[in-house]
Every structure is written in structure tokens, then in C-alpha cells.
């Protein structure tokens, strides 16, 4: 995928191979009116294979969600056909409505209006804990 091909938009690069479609769905890109392209299994000098998503419009991205799913993703902001800004992600300290608490004893299991909120408890092992019940959620549990 050639970044130069976009006039104004976003390129999500270095997506772990196979995760492109997940991110496409979670960002609700199917609802976009503009052109959106997914490249799967592109060659990557850094990771061997990678997925790429190109969005031909400037949109607000849920950085927490992207950081949680794949902190290695690079976000390239393109303006006037040129790379304007490059952002690297990291595991967010707090997740709100990105994952759901799966503890049936947690208050979030019965009260609809409560936001499912997690705090990063262990960065090395990617463990998040529900702020209500403290139950640990490891990477790639139930998505919101």
C-alpha cells in the first residue's frame, strides 16, 4: 500500500497479520462513506507479515482500543498527500467499553448503564482488572 496514494487520511500500519479485519469491524469502518482499503499479509521487514488499513478520510480513532488490541500498530496521518504525523501506540492505562467484564458476580453484569472500565494492573503480562470487581482480564478476552 502506498501512503502517497492518499490525499488526506489515515494509514494504520504494522497491524499484526490476521488482525486487520477485527480492527476494521471494531472501528466500524464498514459504515464509512469514504474509501477504505485493507491489505492482508503484506511483507514487513519488521514483523515478516503485517496487515494495513488505509482510510481515505480523517476520522477520530479510539486509540485506547487500538493500543489494547495491538500496541505495535503505527498510525500515519496523511495531509496533502504527505506523511504529516506518525503516532506509535502503547498499552493504555485505562480501558472504557473496550472489553466486557466476564465475572457473573460483577455489578456490570446486571446494570446496563455502567461503563465497563479496566485499569492496567501488569504491563508486562498485559493484565487488566475491572475497577468494580478487581477480576483480571488477560489479553484478547471478550470484546465490548
Amino acid at each position: 500500500m502506498n501512503v502517497d496514494g492518499i490525499k488526506k487520511g489515515i494509514v494504520l500500519d504494522h497491524i499484526k497479520a490476521g488482525r486487520g479485519m477485527d480492527i476494521y469491524r471494531l472501528l466500524h469502518l464498514e459504515k464509512m462513506k469514504c474509501s477504505v482499503a485493507i491489505v492482508q499479509n503484506a511483507r514487513s521487514t519488521k514483523y515478516g507479515r503485517k496487515d494495513i488499513i488505509k482510510i481515505d478520510e480523517m476520522i477520530t480513532l479510539d486509540m485506547d482500543m487500538l493500543g489494547y488490541i495491538d500496541p505495535n500498530i503505527t498510525i500515519n496521518i496523511v495531509e496533502n498527500g504527505k506523511l504529516y504525523e506518525k503516532k506509535n501506540l502503547e498499552l493504555p492505562e485505562k480501558l472504557t467499553n473496550v472489553i466486557r467484564c466476564h465475572n457473573p458476580r460483577c455489578i456490570t453484569s446486571t446494570e446496563q448503564e455502567i461503563k465497563h472500565t479496566f485499569l492496567l494492573a501488569d504491563r508486562e503480562n498485559r493484565i487488566y482488572r475491572c475497577i468494580y470487581c478487581d477480576v483480571a482480564h488477560k489479553e484478547q478476552m471478550v470484546y465490548y
Binding site: R105, S109, T110, E111, I114, Y132, C133
Partner: protein, 312 residues
């Protein structure tokens, strides 16, 4: 204590300094309860108990009455709008208009935390499922301080249901802050302390170990904290029946114990402590229930900002 909201959801909400001050206030009230009989005149405590309780609810109500205040509330979800499907947040928001402070028990973990986001008045967690029970921890700390004269340099055995036993979770968290404490976790495999509690112990640097039999460690203990295997925490009756009588403390098991051992239990007790032990001077669990009233008086005063007025 969180200065802005002044809630008590977890024992973590209390700084060491505030905790020491509250325990000291509890001890002063215990010595001269009459001096505090009008401190809360004109104030109302709402006890919102979505899950039944005897000691906790009554000790909150007794505490407020002894401070000169009034109480209102309900003692089961069936007698509240929760039975009609009202959310905790809505209930608490409404009750905020009727009371100056709320004590809430709920079977769902995190319910009081969710409630305090909507409450206009201080919220006290009086137990949220198998999660936290910070006022029991305050009770336990006041009991240990009164009985042993210190909160550090002890070997503390916790026995029974360490998985769903919320009182032990909060107590471990609080006591791991004090230097020189060692923890012995006595439970069947199925009722081991959850991973986050073991992580807290690892981080604290306190020595700790897990054993299956209380007899192995009885002579080491300065405090023995017994817990009930709680039927209401099990999804099936079979597991409860199999585990409920795993540990029964009796006179014979106490033979090797230290003469100044402090035997505690958050009550209610079922079979885990033989009634014969009640006459042993080392049995502190009924004195512990009394401490519960005094520390709740201290807590209500603190959250309402009335402890400062008493110092003037």
C-alpha cells in the same frame, strides 16, 4: 480517606494516617461512649441492604443511634424498588435526598463503587458480594489493636473460605501494610485466596504460605482468623456440602496454641468454631462484634467530618 468524595468503598481508600486516626477515635469512643451521644443529632443514616445481614446492619444502626442520629432503610432487596428492577445508581441517587450518609450492602461485586458515582452523600461499602467488606476490616483492626496492643510483628493465620471470604481479602490487604507480619493461608484447594490477593502479598514483601491443615501451624499463630464457608457464594449445593465442615476449631486443636492467641471470626459462625471454645479467654469474636459498633461510630463521624468538631 478520599477527601473529595469521602466514601469508603475499599480499605485502600483510607490512608495509613486516616486509619490510625480512626482507630484511635474508635478506642476513645470505646472508653467514653457517653461523650459522643449527641455528635450526630439531626443526621440520618440510610442502611440500604440488598442482601440480608444481622451484625453489620444492626451495628451500623446502633452506631448511628448511639451518636444521637436517626436511621432509615431496608434490610433486603425484596423490600426495595430493586425488586421492581430499579438500578443501584437510581436507588442511591434518590436516597441521597433523604439521608446524610449511606451504608450499602449488595450481592454484586462493585455495586457500592457504582453507587457512589451517583450519590450526593458519603457511601460506605457494607459488603459487596465476595469482594470487599472494609468496615469488617476496620472492626478487625480495632479488635487486634485492642486485644494485642499492636498491628505489626505477628503471625496471622486465616482459615476457611479464603476465596469468597471478603473479610479476609480486606484484612490481608490492610495488615500487609504493617511491618513484621507473616501470613499463613489455611484453606482447601477449591477455596484458596484469589490471585490478586496473592499478588498483593507478594508485592508487600510479607512472608506468606499456604497450608491445608490448621494443626500444622497452630503453635505459630498470634492471630487465628476463622471464616465460615458461605452457602450463598456457591452455585451448586454439592460443592458447599463437601467443603462446609473442612475446618472445625475445638479445644483439642487449641492445645498447642499460644496462651495469648487471639481467635477471631467475623460471625455468623456455623460449625467452624465449636461452642466449647467460646469460654476460652482467647476467643475474641464476640468482643470483635462489639468493636464493630465503636469503629462504625468513628467511621460515620469521620465521613461526616464531625471528628474535627469533637477535637475543638
Amino acid at each position: 480517606m478520599n477527601k473529595k468524595t469521602r466514601n469508603l468503598i475499599s480499605i485502600r481508600d483510607i490512608t495509613r494516617e486516616d486509619l490510625e486516626a480512626m482507630l484511635a477515635l474508635g478506642q476513645r469512643i470505646m472508653e467514653c461512649p457517653g461523650e459522643y451521644k449527641d455528635v450526630c443529632r439531626g443526621k440520618k443514616l440510610a442502611t440500604l441492604f440488598f442482601e440480608s445481614s444481622t451484625r453489620t446492619r444492626l451495628s451500623f444502626e446502633a452506631a448511628m443511634i448511639e451518636l444521637g442520629g436517626n436511621v432509615l432503610g431496608f434490610s433486603s432487596a425484596d423490600s426495595s424498588s430493586a425488586a421492581k428492577g430499579e438500578s443501584v445508581s437510581d436507588t442511591v441517587r434518590t436516597v441521597s435526598f433523604y439521608a446524610d450518609i449511606i451504608a450499602m450492602r449488595h450481592p454484586k461485586e462493585g455495586a457500592p463503587k457504582a453507587a457512589c458515582t451517583r450519590a450526593e452523600v458519603p457511601v460506605i461499602n457494607a459488603g459487596d458480594g465476595g469482594h470487599f467488606h472494609p468496615t469488617q476490616t476496620l472492626t478487625d483492626l480495632l479488635t487486634i489493636k485492642t486485644e494485642k496492643g499492636r498491628l505489626g510483628d505477628m503471625v496471622i493465620g486465616l482459615c476457611g473460605d479464603l476465596c469468597f471470604g471478603r473479610t479476609v481479602h480486606s484484612l490481608i490487604e490492610a495488615m500487609s501494610e504493617y511491618l513484621g507480619n507473616e501470613f499463613i493461608l489455611i484453606s482447601p484447594e477449591e477455596l484458596r485466596a484469589p490471585d490478586y490477593i496473592r499478588m498483593i502479598l507478594d508485592k508487600s514483601g510479607c512472608p506468606w504460605r499456604e497450608v491445608r491443615k490448621m494443626e500444622e501451624v497452630m503453635d505459630d499463630l498470634d492471630v487465628l482468623y476463622m471464616t465460615r464457608v458461605q452457602r450463598e457464594r456457591f452455585f451448586n449445593e454439592e460443592d458447599y456440602a463437601r467443603l462446609k465442615d473442612t475446618y472445625i476449631l475445638d479445644a483439642e486443636k487449641l492445645i498447642p496454641a499460644k496462651p495469648d492467641l487471639c481467635i477471631m471470626h467475623p460471625l455468623p459462625r456455623v460449625n467452624e468454631i465449636s461452642v466449647v471454645v467460646d469460654d476460652d479467654p482467647r476467643a475474641c469474636y464476640f468482643r470483635q462484634a462489639l468493636c464493630g459498633k465503636y469503629i462504625r461510630m468513628a467511621l460515620i463521624m469521620t465521613l461526616l467530618g464531625l471528628e474535627k468538631e469533637m477535637r475543638r
